[in-house]
């Protein structure tokens, strides 16, 4: 392993090691002070940036930097290759991740000062960075799926960061459910690649698939990407995810996590190009999301939700670019969008103050953009669109009514079937939790 490869491994592993060290320290009964956490964070990401700079330097003269660790595990002909890959696509995302997560870490050290969950936040932030770096530096779709799942779980845990309030916890559960449902697409897509092409590794070129096979895999990956990037029809979860602390919203839904889906499609883009249907679907999903995000965002009452819809719109446009095969435009778009949106999210708590300053400077109220388009519509259409936007395109309502309620009805039916053969007694009423005090007074084993 040469120096560049060591640097690539270091850049990817460093946040994971910090996260593991934090977890073990906590388990051993030591919660590091805020100062220590900030210091470690402040050292980790600049070090990762420096390591990545070495990789970028090498990529000026080479196409890729690859680190092969052999097979993570293998059973007869089935292998799970452990390959890290830095090429001109992944290094952009890798660099964006370490820089932005480092900035967020610096910002959060002040923003979350004396917050009860300070340590938890940083532990999860490092774990998230590790998951993202694994996903972006993966040389195979299997490894990408591993990092992808880590990003998902940390995202959900940070949505439920304010755990004493019920809405964040409920929203976290909903987001988790949508993530898991859509991740089926990635799992089955990876299987299909293995089955038809014999590998899901792209370190030495993407698996070659054509015709209906390319379409099937492309659509499965689109399902996964749409779930992670909150594209239509899964867009309902993104406003709910704004329950988390602002720095996590910025890094997840303004910068990294929201673009992970686009990265997946960029990786699979040559395969998508083999299938007109899959490419068209990518464009349609992106277009639908862009329109949805624009309209719904205009009826949003709070800053973070507004920014979330703005993110949706831009990522929708990125999907369109990918669908049309404009790979490098999409990469530049991702980079620019992530940077600007992160800044906007971080400024969102003081948005009113910023607006007041701006209005004072220009001497009048600034009109929101696009009003002239609204005025072109008839009054009834405006009203209908307003209601549609206010209910966020009825996406959650549709999901609730046709999927969740149906599933719950089915589950209740199964529960009734399970009770067959048992005596008909009224269901045990749960006692209020306050009565637990009596039990707690007993000796704890």
């Amino acid at each position: 392993m040469d120096f560049t490869q060591v640097m690539l491994v270091f850049a990817v592993l460093a946040p994971g090691l910090v996260s593991a060290a934090f977890a073990l320290a906590w388990l051993a009964g030591w919660v590091p002070e805020e100062r220590v956490v900030s210091l470690v964070t402040g050292m980790t990401f600049p070090a990762s940036v420096a390591a990545l700079a070495v990789v970028v330097w090498r990529l000026l003269s080479a196409q890729t930097v690859t680190v092969a660790f052999g097979n993570w595990f293998s059973v007869r002909d089935y292998h799970f290759p452990m390959v890290l890959l830095a090429d001109r696509l992944s290094v952009v995302l890798l660099g964006m991740t370490v820089v932005l997560v480092g900035l967020i870490g610096r910002f959060s050290a002040t923003y979350l000062h004396r917050e009860p969950g300070f340590f938890r936040f940083f532990l999860l932030l490092h774990l998230f960075a590790f998951g993202s770096l694994i996903a972006f530096a993966a040389g195979s779709f299997e490894l990408l799926a591993g990092g992808w799942e880590i990003v998902g779980i940390t995202s959900v845990l940070l949505i439920a960061f304010f755990q004493h309030r019920t809405p964040p916890v409920e929203n976290a559960l909903r987001v988790f459910a949508i993530y898991r449902a859509c991740d089926i697409g990635l799992l089955v897509g990876v299987f299909a690649m293995h089955h038809w092409a014999g590998t899901a590794s792209f370190a030495s070129g993407l698996p070659h698939l054509e015709g209906s096979r390319a379409t099937t895999v492309g659509l499965l990956l689109l399902l996964a990407a749409a779930g992670k990037a909150a594209q239509a029809p899964f867009s309902g979860w993104l406003p709910r995810a704004m329950e988390g602390p602002t720095p996590s919203s910025a890094i997840f839904y303004g910068a990294i996590s929201i673009h992970a889906g686009a990265y997946l499609l960029l990786r699979a883009q040559p395969m998508l190009a083999q299938s007109g249907l899959a490419s068209a679907m990518v464009v349609m999903v992106g277009l639908a999301t862009a329109v949805y995000g624009t309209i719904s965002g205009r009826a949003s009452a709070d800053a973070k939700t507004l920014l979330a819809f703005a993110s949706l719109t831009q990522v929708g446009v990125v999907f369109i670019e990918i669908g049309f095969g404009l790979k490098w435009i999409a990469v530049i778009h991702i980079l620019g969008h992530a940077t600007v949106r992160t800044l906007q999210f971080l400024r969102s708590p003081s948005m009113l103050h910023d607006y007041h300053q701006m209005h004072a400077a220009i001497g009048r109220q600034e009109e929101s953009s696009g009003n002239w388009i609204e005025d072109l519509l008839p009054a009834r259409a405006q009203l209908w669109l307003y209601r549609w936007a206010l209910d966020r395109g009825h996406l959650d309502t549709i999901l609730d009514r046709f999927v969740i309620h149906s599933l719950m009805r089915l589950a209740k039916l199964f529960a009734r079937l399970d009770r067959i053969g048992l005596p008909r007694t009224p269901e045990r009423r749960e006692q209020p939790v306050a009565s637990f005090g009596a039990a707690a007074r007993e000796r704890v084993g």
Binding site: H164, R180, F191, G445
Partner: protein
């Protein structure tokens, strides 16, 4: 007595003797139980080292189960450290190890029945409702009938020598499958598992469920004895197992009893194990065996954590509201989350690898119904997370006088469980390679085309010589030679 036989006797005999001692003495119960389990662990380690890789399935299962029991004896709350409970757990350990190591059908039947005895009595470890008792009795009765039919048809009762003979034909095959369905809780006969977990002793019931006798019967008996029949009819059982995994995953979505929820998770995931074993692919079988390790460790940990919470905060815990227990027991919360998500394929844990192999194996053998497996796993993950949020998140509760998080002994044993699934997930090759040998053995038992065995079953010295001569030849009908009495 040979070296392996004496070690096996030690692994089984010590827990049984300790069970009697605990019932009689009723002092230092945890120490006795842990010591006895440790002896079983050490004996199993030595057995595993001595066994060839391809024939090490029983030894590996023995080691896994003894470790599980040793962990359970440490995690057991003081309130549950009664002579009956500890005695029952040790009795179960001995019976389960006997079942794993049995090479004779009668011994297997005896161990099968013995493992159910503590759960047939409501005052011992059993549930108040009738369904668990009925299911356990039915499975024992059906297995006994199957073995009786084999014996009546004149076959030997040695499992090794019955290999590939399809003893008793379809009737015995059907009975064995029925025994699996009852004992494993395959849909529609799954309801007893929830009842057992709800009403019975939590940790002992977890040990009962984690014996996975149904999967053991498939791997050790049905596949080797009925390769041809299994090849034709296993897809049916495999579809049933996959349907069970999904059915139970959906069923769990509205359940509010934490014990039932964890039992359903265990059931759904163990149905995945069965589906993997029946996938007839190397990836599927290996994935199933690795997943066996994960499911037993995780569900044991989850049941233990739940019991510890019950002891601290009352036995009427519910997933119907937010209890906010993470504020009082943060370490238990983290252990619960990691072990719970490890059950559902969290990356960085061993189940990520096992699920990967399982999904690959089942999709290869059943491209359409195999899709049920990732769907069921996704729903199970949602159920785990829902249970976690309901138990541990939400507004901090007041009114507790004792707010103890995990005690040191609980903390370290749960840490060991978490480390097993996490370190195993980071470096899975060692564990996967360990199970590849047994998986190959299962595959070979299933993969050989059905044909009459060249080896006679009841053989004398002269006949053994003849068998040895002809053992390399295929389709040699030895029963026509020398007028010997062969079982066919």
């Amino acid at each position: 007595m040979t070296y392996p036989a004496s070690l096996t006797a030690l692994a089984i005999g010590v827990p049984w003797c300790a069970a009697v001692v605990t019932v009689l003495i009723r002092r230092q119960l945890r120490a006795i139980a842990f010591g006895a389990s440790l002896v079983s662990v050490l004996a199993s380690v030595l057995l595993l080292r001595a066994a060839p890789s391809s024939q090490s399935l029983p030894e590996a299962l023995m080691l896994l189960y003894s470790c599980l029991t040793a962990g359970a004896t440490i995690a057991l709350p003081l309130r549950d450290c009664r002579g009956g409970t500890i005695g029952g757990i040790l009795f179960l350990l001995g019976s389960t190890l006997l079942a794993y190591s049995a090479d004779d059908l009668v011994v297997l039947l005896g161990a099968w029945i013995a493992s159910t005895i503590p759960f047939l009595f409501g005052r011992w470890l059993g549930a108040r409702t009738w369904r668990p008792r009925a299911a356990l009795l039915a499975s024992s009765g059906i297995l006994a009938t199957a073995i009786l039919l084999i014996a009546r048809s004149g076959h030997t009762l040695s499992i090794a020598r019955l290999a590939r003979q399809s003893p008793g034909g379809m009737a015995v095959f059907g009975l064995l499958v029925a025994a699996v369905v009852f004992r494993k809780g395959i849909c529609p006969l799954h309801a007893w598992v929830g009842d057992a977990a709800e009403d019975g002793d939590a940790i002992a019931t977890a040990l009962l469920l984690n014996g996975h006798f149904g999967a053991m019967l498939v791997a050790r008996l049905i596949v080797p004895l009925f390769p041809g029949t299994a090849r034709d009819l296993f897809p049916l059982l495999s579809h049933l197992a996959l349907a069970t995994a999904l059915y139970i995953a959906i069923r769990a979505l509205t359940e509010n009893s934490p014990r039932r929820l964890i039992a359903y998770l265990a059931l759904s995931q163990s149905a995945c194990i069965l589906a993997g074993l029946e996938s007839r692919t190397m990836e599927g079988v290996t994935g199933a065996l690795v997943h066996w390790c994960v499911v037993t460790t995780s569900t044991m940990g989850l049941f233990a954590i739940l019991r510890l919470l019950e002891v601290r905060f009352g036995e009427n815990l519910t997933a119907g509201e937010y209890l906010g227990l993470a504020q009082h027991a943060p370490r238990l919360a983290v252990f619960f989350l990691v072990l719970g998500l490890a059950l559902a394929g969290l990356p960085g844990t061993l189940s990520f690898c096992s699920q990967d192999l399982l999904i690959h194996g089942t999709l290869v053998s059943h491209p359409l119904t195999g899709l049920l497996l990732p769907a069921a796993t996704a729903m199970n993950a949602v159920t785990v997370f829902r249970l976690f949020t309901r138990l541990f998140l939400g507004k901090r509760r007041t009114g507790f006088t004792i707010l103890a998080d995990a005690l040191p002994r609980e903390r370290w044993i749960l840490t060991a469980a978490v480390l097993f699934v996490v370190v195993g997930g980071l470096f899975p090759n060692a564990i996967v390679a360990r199970w590849t040998g047994p998986a190959e053995a299962v595959q070979q038992a299933d993969g050989i085309p059905p044909r009459r065995s060249a080896l006679p079953v009841r053989v004398g010295r002269r006949d053994r010589t003849a068998a040895a001569v002809f053992s390399g030849l295929r389709n040699v009908r030895l029963e026509h030679r020398h007028g010997l009495d062969f079982d066919e």
